[in-house]
């Protein structure tokens, strides 16, 4: 026998671990959690049972957050670039030298061009520290890929219709729904914690599940009705559903009469779009279109037309979101139990600082002439204006967002920007691809080692959650708040940072609402009572934040801006001969391109697989488990990627999980594993309304890989 007992035998008598509250940062869902440590050893991370985002259960990625701390390649020292452009050689610098260089270049930009010529591309809760710095400096050009590469079209479409977009978490009342409609959103594979729980609640409650997806997704496997739609034809299906609901008078007549404008125009608009017409576009049988339309109408208002999340697909995405929003309006589900509840956050005062200076030019003056109804700054517009000698922007701060794998086909633009910009700063935890383009790389400690702004999301029940450090920062890495404050102080902006430690900000804010840092350090989360109802009262006529005060089935705003006031269907481009739609999505083990080097999650999924239908595999002589390279219609070749031959993908499409195929030399686990879909997206379909980068108009064929 062994000289030592087994691990389980040792654990039988082990003393409890120390628990520190955190908010998970592996994805944007931001579940409140507890970090279990013994000394400086991190054991595990579990969900906070009091948190509605997770109900005490972290997802696969959140559970694997342990690996974010133990990642062998973490950035632990500041780096300064030795060359420009594509030259990615760096030398180690002291914090003082690195921060001094950043401040010096920022001052030079302000002096020679104006502070408004500095832009920031940011993501996540720590983004607040750098948005604050850049606003205090004198610029409002602060964009998140979350808009133009993800939620922007959805939120714009719903905003135009209801006067409000969706937050995070989405206000979908799936636990109480009688019918759930998913259009291209693959809940389960995108593991948004409480979305998964409420979706499975729907299944447990025998709600009717309708899933529209070209691929037999996990959610499709749970559906009563799966509609295996031809890629890019969703608007045709949505128009046909509305055609049925209007022609058969199955809409919520009272709700529509009280709360909407434009019904007549909508009726006339959708009249030609019968299920028989839609069959020709979507490949979905007319009888199935009719049946599903009737089912969602019969269950309404307890019907969730899920708005989805990543919505930048075909360039007409705001219009697709509009079609979904109009359908939701007809079914009367906004503000209704089992449909969309009304979220509420905590009225949390901001820590008092002086007013920001008014920027000489706003992001709006740069973006709106190109994309008139962009409701938020557009990453791609900023980068388009950030390269070349006469570029508007002269400097860039990138926080926690890996642009080369987040924005489609962007590497050349980034190289040009890296050549001509006077300053690129990347603040990151790991040596992600984007850090290779930076003049200065500032190492942030992981979320497990830092404080960040309180989580205050719109939810069914308002609550505040605390992220506190459970472990000391690795190496010389520092929290984002410290980095932003140090740069600000060096720029003479100390009045915007009138505190020495970020805990002072958190404690001050908590005291304004009757709590304290001390309380949250124990509980991790504090719930607050709702001030307003979660649903409209029966017969209520609420005022919507649209120009008309009503739900705008017909959008005068779109019409005035020169766009279709009612969604129009355009037939998408079909794949060229021997090419396949390049479809992509999520896996429950990874978030974006940020977790592939996490050693825990790496073990669960070290590389992505390209899903190929058996007919295509046979035709190209490709066997399951072998490697191929994907070649797009412009001749761009991917890294080698392993094939999964499966019936679960459409014969005209391939599918792979986004975020793999890393090229950064510093990512020892992730580098060279799997294929990067973003690099294959050379055809970007811009949404003319808000600037979203449609990523589904790319096609690939295969090149066999020897050995």
């Amino acid at each position: 026998g062994c000289s030592r007992p087994a691990e389980w035998q040792r654990m039988m008598t082990e003393a409890p671990a120390t628990e520190t509250p955190t908010v998970c940062n592996i994805c944007f869902w931001a579940c409140a959690a507890k970090v279990h440590t013994r000394g400086e050893r991190l054991w595990k991370i579990t969900g906070n049972p009091e948190d509605a985002h997770c109900e005490g259960r972290l997802c696969t990625r959140g559970t694997g957050g342990v690996g974010a701390y133990y990642d062998p390649n973490r950035l632990v020292r500041p780096l300064v670039r030795m060359g420009k452009g594509a030259d990615q050689r760096f030398e180690v610098a002291s914090w003082d030298n690195a921060l001094g260089l950043v401040a010096e270049r920022m001052e030079k930009i302000a002096r020679e061009h104006g502070p408004d010529r500095l832009a920031a591309l940011v993501h996540g809760p720590g983004a607040a520290h750098f948005s604050h710095l850049v606003r205090a400096f004198g610029s409002d050009s602060i964009a998140e890929p979350a808009f133009a590469q993800c939620r922007g079209p959805r939120d714009t479409g719903f905003f135009l219709t209801f006067g409000q977009g969706f937050g995070s978490p989405e206000q979908t009342d799936m636990a109480k729904a009688r019918c759930i409609v998913l259009i291209g959103t693959h809940i389960g594979e995108n593991l948004h914690n409480s979305q998964v729980r409420t979706f499975t609640d729907g299944i447990r409650n025998d709600a009717t599940i309708i899933v529209v997806d070209p691929r037999f997704s996990v959610a499709a496997g749970k559906a009563n009705h799966w509609l295996p739609i031809r890629p890019g034809t969703d608007i045709a299906l949505l128009l046909a559903w509305m055609n049925v609901i209007l022609a058969e008078r199955r809409y919520d007549a009272g709700y529509v009469a009280r709360n909407t404008v434009g019904l007549e125009a909508l009726c006339a608009h959708v009249a030609p779009f019968t299920p028989e017409w839609a069959y020709g576009e979507t490949g979905i049988e007319p009888a199935l279109i009719r049946e599903t339309a009737r089912l969602m109408a019969a269950a309404a208002p307890a019907t969730v037309v899920h708005p989805g999340r990543h919505s930048t697909w075909w360039g007409d995405d705001t219009q697709r979101a509009r079609a979904m929003a109009i359908l939701a309006g007809l079914l009367g589900i906004w503000g209704r139990e089992g449909g969309y509840y009304l979220p509420e956050s905590v009225a949390l005062p901001a820590y008092p600082v002086p007013a920001y200076p008014v920027p000489k030019t706003s992001w709006r003056e740069i973006a709106l002439p190109v994309f008139p109804l962009a409701g938020a700054p557009v990453t791609n517009v900023i980068l388009d204006n950030a390269h070349g000698a006469d570029a508007h922007y002269k400097g860039l701060i990138v926080y926690d967002t890996n642009l080369p794998m987040t924005m489609p086909g962007i590497r050349r633009t980034l190289e040009a920007a890296a050549q001509s910009l006077e300053l690129i700063v990347a603040v990151d935890v790991q040596p992600a691809e984007v850090t290779g383009y930076a003049d200065v790389v500032l190492p942030e400690c992981s979320y497990l080692e830092r404080h960040d702004p309180l989580r205050n999301s719109g939810e069914r029940y308002p609550a505040l959650a605390l992220r506190a450090p459970a472990l000391p920062p690795r190496g010389e890495s520092k929290p984002g708040w410290w980095i932003a404050r140090e740069i600000g102080t060096r720029l003479g902006l100390g009045r915007y940072f009138p505190w020495t430690d970020y805990t002072e900000v958190i404690d001050w804010q908590l005291r304004q609402v009757g709590s304290s840092l001390k309380e949250l350090e124990t509980t991790g989360i504090r719930a607050f009572p709702r001030r307003t109802p979660a649903y409209f009262a029966p017969g209520e006529t609420p005022r919507f934040a649209t120009p008309s005060g009503k739900i705008e089935l017909f959008s005068a705003t779109l019409q005035q801006a020169g766009f279709d006031p009612l969604p129009r269907y355009t037939r998408p481009e079909a794949p060229p001969a021997d090419h396949f739609h390049l479809n992509y999505g999520r896996a429950p083990q990874h978030s974006f391109s940020r977790t592939q080097n996490n050693p825990v999650l790496y073990q669960l999924m070290p590389e992505n697989l390209v899903w190929i239908h058996p007919t295509a595999a046979r035709r190209f002589g490709i066997r399951n488990g072998t490697y191929v390279r994907l070649v797009n219609q412009d001749g761009v070749v991917s890294n080698k990627v392993r094939v999964r031959v499966t019936e679960r993908t459409r014969p005209d499409s391939v599918w792979l999980v986004h975020g793999f195929g890393h090229t950064a030399p510093g990512l020892s686990l992730a580098r060279g594993r799997g294929a990067d879909d973003s690099a294959l997206m050379t055809r970007v379909l811009y949404d003319p309304i808000m600037g979203g980068t449609g990523m589904r108009g790319n096609f690939v064929t295969f090149r066999k890989e020897n050995a």
Partner: protein
């Protein structure tokens, strides 16, 4: 004797492998090894398809062939229950239990050389807690409890839902149940 069972609802399981992850973290499972795993079974032709996910592990059999096969008594039932554990101090690493297990749920722990496996998180169960995989399942598809108690969640689910076990023909009387 306490009769523990795990009941997994394949209707709501999304195959996310969080159970695998949580087990590895909870039990300090070494790199490259796992005590549980997820199987995907897809049947049919596009678009007539059916997929089932199944989280699999040791079945903590009431009639465990691994316990019978162990020459040293290292493989044993914990505390008079059906939870099968391995006492590493008595395990010689002879692998007779690996050959005897119909579920391929045992593995060699490197570098120590003893045989490792799912313990139903007995270190948690002793305090009345669920195993880590059950406690973390974001789809709430996993359940754990006592079959001796007709009021327990597992007893009620098995009384009301169609279910199956893996390899029932072995006579091992497995205690991991799958709801259809």
């Amino acid at each position: 004797m306490p009769h523990f069972a795990m009941v997994i609802d394949t209707k709501t399981c999304i195959g996310c492998t969080d159970c695998v992850d949580a087990c590895r973290m909870e039990n300090n499972v070494p790199e490259g090894l796992c005590y549980d795993w997820v199987v995907e079974i897809t049947e049919g032709r596009y678009p007539e398809l059916k997929t089932e996910f199944r989280s699999e592990r040791c079945n903590h059999c009431s009639n465990a062939t691994c316990v019978d096969a162990c020459p040293t008594g290292a493989s044993q039932y914990w505390n008079g229950s059906n939870i099968v554990v391995v006492d590493a101090t008595r395990c010689t690493g002879c692998k007779a239990c690996i050959a005897a297990c119909p579920y391929d749920s045992r593995l060699i722990m490197e570098p120590q050389g003893y045989i490792g496996k799912c313990t139903f998180c007995v270190h948690r169960v002793q305090y009345g807690e669920d195993p880590a995989c059950v406690a973390t399942c974001p789809a709430h598809a996993m359940h754990f409890g006592l079959l001796d108690d007709p009021g327990s969640a597992v007893s009620r689910l098995l009384a009301t839902r169609a279910h199956y076990v893996l390899a029932p023909e072995t006579g091992n009387q497995p205690n991991v149940f799958y709801l259809r």
